[in-house]
Symmetry: C2
Subunit: 218 residues, 2 copies
DNA sequence: TTAAATTTTTAGGTTTGTCTAAATTTATTG
DNA sequence: CAATAAATTTAGACAAACCTAAAAATTTAA
């Protein structure tokens, strides 16, 4: 079965909302797909008829099994394209979202299979989000920021929340990037700052504002 | 200005029809975009309003300067993506058209600039059609291999597909290199081998495996 | 637990791109 | 050069995806 770009965008958005909240309501979804609640109702009826969502009027809703499967293929395409744009075409990670938003709707299983192979089956996209494999499975590693991870456990940086120029500048200075192995050796209670250790570099201290934005898998 | 996928498809089709015939009529165009003449009329009015076609009711029509420019950007995207699909993802040349048909509508100048650079600024797509550069300029010749070119027409070698040492060795023996003027004088049906004539050299016969890898413009 | 606030749905419209059938214009040809 | 054929346009509809405004259902909270 084939789905329109709009249908795919709704399914993808429901998926992302479900990850955070358990169930999704029309207002949340309308905001996410950048439309009005009335339009969401129309679309929900269509998606229900296609058995992609479990929906009853006036109730919150969730994806069916088929809906989740579809969502994962879209997420997979999006993240693989982001990886391609950054690692092959040399885009910066903050520039690729909108383009991947278009590329994720290109319709060819063979294309994605070959792209995945060409990219050497990456597990995380440039933002650090896990990429579902061809069967829809992906890493379930918990992602925590440097304020949350346990002390003295080696972690691998895989996501930077604040992607402002000033933040990137600071990260460059500390030689922190996606993939960097990092350990929190100490927390200072007074201001929440953390002492970190990176490989053989001298110890450094990051403010809590900075540490809060650096996510890693432990 | 931004254009819908439909508008782009019409413009691209008018362009391709113009290359063959000078002017385009509704019946030809309807067949090419796989729709009905009435729909073509509707779209022509819209494209005229946007100054992409020179059109008067009941008359044949052509692209304006702006229309041609747009057409070339679409052709450029299509052919660059085809090149990518074949030379990076390993698709066969006959498998890529439909996918490129979707990819050509992805909207990002930066993406195409970077893709072009990543592919090392190719001049021909996998079907031998010339790729417009960023200013819309391209070769006005099609590239074919020695199995495809017409008999007894002088052609100029401009690309060797298989660049293995053994192939280069063989080419040296036959005194074939980029720029060589070559003519196919005969084809042997049994094994697909071709008899060639190069300037004042004695006639020679190339196997189909070799001929297939030698590309030229006629 | 009822009134107010919020959320969701319905009703009725719009735009884009398509269609069929009928009318009109242009081209062909006896 | 008139009549037939072919091409093109118009008129009126339809589906998808959206909208606003009003009605209905649900939730909150006084």
């Amino acid at each position: 079965m084939n789905f329109s770009v709009s249908e795919e965008n709704y399914i993808k958005s429901i998926y992302h909302l479900q990850v955070q909240h358990q169930r999704v309501n029309a207002t949340m979804l309308a905001a996410m797909v950048n439309t009005k609640a009335a339009s969401v109702t129309d679309m929900l009826k269509k998606l229900q008829k296609k058995k992609l969502v479990d929906y009853e009027p006036y109730k919150s809703f969730i994806l069916t099994e088929a809906g989740s499967k579809l969502a994962l293929t879209i997420v997979r395409k999006h993240r693989l394209w982001e990886y391609f744009l950054v690692n092959k075409l040399g885009f910066a990670w903050h520039e690729v979202h909108d383009i991947a938003e278009e590329l994720e709707h290109i319709n060819s299983v063979e294309l994605i299979t070959r792209l995945d192979n060409f990219l050497d089956f990456p597990s995380f996209d440039p933002h650090g989000d896990p990429i579902p494999n061809s069967r829809g499975k992906m890493s379930n590693l918990k992602r925590s920021n440097l304020l949350e991870i346990p002390l003295k456990k080696t972690a691998i940086v895989n996501y930077i929340q604040d992607q402002s120029v000033t933040m990137l500048d600071l990260l460059k200075h500390y030689q922190i990037s996606i993939g960097t192995k990092i350990k929190v050796t100490r927390r200072f209670e007074f201001d929440g700052s953390v002492e970190i250790k990176i490989n053989k570099l001298p110890d450094a201290v990051l403010s809590s504002q900075v540490a809060k934005n650096i996510y890693c898998t432990v």
